[in-house]
């Protein structure tokens, strides 16, 4: 132990560089994990946290809510499928709104009040009870989407005031402020956006289904897909996972994170292997004067743990600082994932350091007496 600390103190640049490199790598892992989770929550929170068991898309929409339109005869046919307790329209679109005195984008979800599709994560206030009332995403409550605030939808067709009466957690969609309103209010907003009159019908984006008691949502999905032409039914979880962009974001970040997890232990293992090579003479001498192999290995492992701990602390500091710049994604500093990640990279670093440990164990003290040099 004494040797380990003493060496670190005497070679600050070496260990500092390693701790810095490890810190940056672990920071990038933490940062990207937070970004991935934040992005996905902000992309599909509204889908995940609404009450419909099954969502039915137009089959040409390729699971894209924004690109889906359900025709009236499809809605009627879906309502007739066995196992469907309630099938009601659910609309989604992005609008220009005025909130807190500024123009911004907002996503509106329109659902039949009391029916499937209502928010399930209400944290304060209440659900809408009539037209022009809304539940807003909690992340945006300080930006003009708080309870009591009025949000105005604007477009070529005029303006529509919507009053926020409730707040729900993790309710964003497409990284924009999100409001859940009744379907007729949503339809009015769409007409304003399109600059069309009340005679123009507004079709729902999808059908929200509440399945009958005791019926498996997957069974209803299979029945709808078999019995209704031109639609694609998905359970809520499937709709979340198959939202365009979500799976590609997951795969892309998965590859990037995998490479980072590979590089951190490689860098650490490389460092300690080279250091062990360099210290070969000294280690041989120590063994010759009675130091046990165990004490040398412990010393090496203490250094690995120390470097990884310092690196993780640097990483956490950078992570906490960098996250401030991404508050718009609703990303927050979380200690537990940081601890888990640090633990994982420490375990991997210890694993790759086993190569250096093996070298230490192979030291033959007799070499110190032969003058033939040392061979680790």
């Amino acid at each position: 132990m004494f040797l380990a600390w003493h060496e670190i103190r005497r070679a600050k640049l070496r260990f500092g560089l390693l701790a810095g490199a490890v810190g940056l790598l672990v920071f990038l892992i933490l940062f990207q994990q937070a970004l991935l989770n934040g992005l996905i929550t902000q992309f599909i929170g509204a889908l995940k946290n609404q009450s419909a068991d099954v969502l039915v898309y137009n089959d040409q929409a390729r699971q894209n809510l924004e690109g889906s339109v359900i025709l009236p005869d499809q809605l009627a046919a879906i309502g007739e499928v066995e196992g469907v307790a309630v099938a009601s329209p659910l609309g989604e679109a992005t609008f220009t709104v005025q909130a807190d005195g500024a123009d911004t984008d907002a996503v509106l979800f329109g659902y039949v009040l009391g029916g499937p599709g209502e928010p399930t994560t209400l944290s304060s206030g209440r659900l809408p009870e009539g037209p022009a009332e809304a539940v807003a995403s909690a992340k945006d409550k300080d930006d003009g989407f708080g309870i009591g605030d009025t949000v105005t939808v604007i477009g070529p067709g005029g303006a529509l005031d919507v009053k926020v009466v409730g707040i729900a957690d993790e309710l964003n969609f497409s990284v924009a402020p999100t409001l859940f309103v009744d379907f007729d209010t949503f339809a009015d907003a769409k007409r304003i956006r399109g600059g069309v009159g009340p005679e123009v019908p507004v079709q729902p984006s999808v059908v929200a289904i509440a399945v009958a008691d005791g019926v498996d949502p997957q069974t209803v999905v299979d029945r709808v897909n078999a019995e209704v032409d031109g639609v694609e039914a998905l359970t809520r979880d499937q709709a979340v996972a198959q939202t365009p962009g979500v799976s590609s974001v997951r795969t892309s970040f998965g590859v990037i994170l995998g490479l980072f997890y590979l590089v951190v232990p490689l860098v650490t293992g490389l460092f300690f292997l080279i250091v062990t090579f360099q210290k070969a003479s000294a280690l041989t001498l120590l063994r010759a004067i009675g130091a046990s192999a165990r004490s040398l290995v412990v010393s090496l492992l203490v250094q690995v743990v120390a470097v990884m701990a310092i690196g993780s602390l640097i990483a956490f500091g950078l992570y906490a600082f960098a996250i401030q710049g991404f508050s718009s994604l609703g990303v927050e500093v979380e200690v537990l994932p940081a601890v888990i990640t640090s633990g994982a990279v420490l375990a991997l670093a210890l694993l790759t350091s086993l190569v250096a440990v093996r070298r230490v164990l192979r030291i033959d003290p007799i070499n110190a007496t032969t003058g033939a040099g040392v061979n680790v």
């Binding site: 640049l13 070496r14 560089l17 390693l18 490199a21 940056l24 790598l25 990038l28 940062f31 990207q32 970004l35 089959d59 040409q60 929409a61 390729r62 924004e66 690109g67 339109v69 025709l71 992005t94 609008f95 220009t96 123009d103 984008d105 604007i154 477009g155 070529p156 497409s174 339809a187 769409k190 007409r191 956006r193 399109g194 069309v196 123009v200 019908p201 507004v202 079709q203 031109g230 365009p244 799976s247 590609s248 795969t251 892309s252 590859v255 990037i256 490479l259 980072f260 590979l262 590089v263 490689l266 860098v267 293992g269 490389l270 460092f271 292997l273 080279i274 250091v275 090579f277 960098a322």
Partner: protein, 367 residues
């Protein structure tokens, strides 16, 4: 001493450099993968705008630079056409829809784009008959062929593909370039609640000179929001955020490359201090010794770049098509230069140690 010595060491003791090369290879793969992802996202989202042959794009002011929400009616268009410096104006409209492709089970993602001023590579609009379209080659991967009639949207509006164009996709969807009348027919049939009237377009592509964007917005009394093509590209959803986030990760990774090279060569230099003492004693200059360290760093980074590039290309082949990875020659050049520069800078950490080697230390100590 010439620079043969460091090269000879690389040749005769390659094992010494293997682990560092392996680490740098993974970092090179990571840099290429990150860059390729950024390029894929950027190019796949912005092609339809980058191809525009105009000087400004004009949105209605309440659209917040969104194509879907923007509407320019004939009256507003006439005002813009009369603005100082405006020489040519063309309408543009985009609809994001699914399309049935003959012989394919899966629908294709298409962006139906009506145009007047032909974007780069897109034929003059006068060559297209109603219901005909020129498709972005991206749609070839989804089974579309020239001569196919695809059925677009829930209303199954038919569009016959008459040719290909490269690099014009929009928000990761292959664009089908059609006349404005065809686009209006598709939009009104499939998006009746966002229907557009005769002569209405979503945005205008404007050619002209001077401070075009300011002049146009002043002429319309702020009923419009005009952007240069570059600004319109950055105004697309997520594009600016993607660029800043990915670039931050790429530059942080380059800092790690620098640290790894610095670490490796400072350790190697420490190991060689005795040898350097001998070399200095027989006349080698510090500059020449340091040049040897830099040379080795460059060779290691070049080999790592080659290995990393092969790994990145293999990864690109094995990844599902949904991952928008696009490895461009420019990205390879950037990564190569960045790796070499980071390696040279990293190896410079060893300079101080090389300079401080005392030739006298060679007497009786070098081994």
């Amino acid at each position: 001493m010439s620079l043969k010595l460091p090269v000879r060491e690389l040749r005769r003791r390659p094992n010494r450099f293997v682990v560092a090369t392996a680490v740098l290879s993974f970092l090179a793969t990571l840099l290429l993968f990150l860059g390729g992802l950024l390029d894929g996202l950027y190019l796949g989202s912005t092609g339809a705008l980058r191809a525009q042959q105009g000087d400004a794009i004009v949105f209605s002011s309440d659209a917040r630079e969104s194509f879907l929400r923007s509407r320019i009616d004939p009256e507003l268009r006439a005002t813009i056409e009369g603005a100082d410096g405006v020489t040519e104006v063309g309408g543009l409209g985009l609809s994001l829809l699914g399309a049935e492709v003959p012989g394919e089970d899966e629908p294709a993602d298409v962006a139906v784009a009506g145009y007047e001023i032909a974007p780069s590579g897109v034929p003059d609009v006068s060559t297209l008959a109603p219901g005909e379209g020129t498709a972005d080659r991206r749609l070839e991967d989804q089974g579309v062929e020239v001569g196919d009639t695809i059925l677009v949207g829930p209303a199954q509006s038919p569009i016959t593909i008459v040719g290909w164009v490269d690099d014009t996709s929009y928000l990761q969807q292959g664009t089908v370039w059609v006349t404005l009348d065809t686009w209006r027919a598709v939009q009104n049939a499939n998006r009746p609640d966002s229907a557009v009237g005769d002569g209405v377009v979503q945005v205008l592509v404007v050619r002209g000179g001077g401070d075009l964007t300011s002049v146009i917005d002043a002429a319309t009394g702020a009923a419009t929001k005009s952007l240069t093509i570059d600004d319109a590209v950055l105004a697309l959803p997520g594009v600016a955020q993607q660029n800043s986030t990915f670039n931050a990760i790429i530059y942080s990774t380059l800092t790690v490359v620098l640290a790894v090279v610095a670490l490796f060569f400072s350790l190697l230099t420490l190991e060689r201090l005795g040898l350097y003492g001998v070399l200095k004693a027989i006349g080698a200059s510090s500059g020449r010794l340091f040049a040897g360290v830099v040379l080795q760093a460059v060779v290691v980074s070049v080999i790592a770049f080659v290995v990393g590039s092969v790994l990145a290309l293999l990864a690109a082949l094995s990844l599902p098509a949904e991952v928008p990875l696009q490895l461009t020659p420019g990205r390879f050049v950037f990564t190569f230069v960045a790796l070499v520069v980071a390696s040279v800078l990293g190896s410079a950490i060893s300079l101080r140690k090389v300079l401080r080697v005392d030739p006298a230390s060679a007497i009786g100590t070098a081994s």
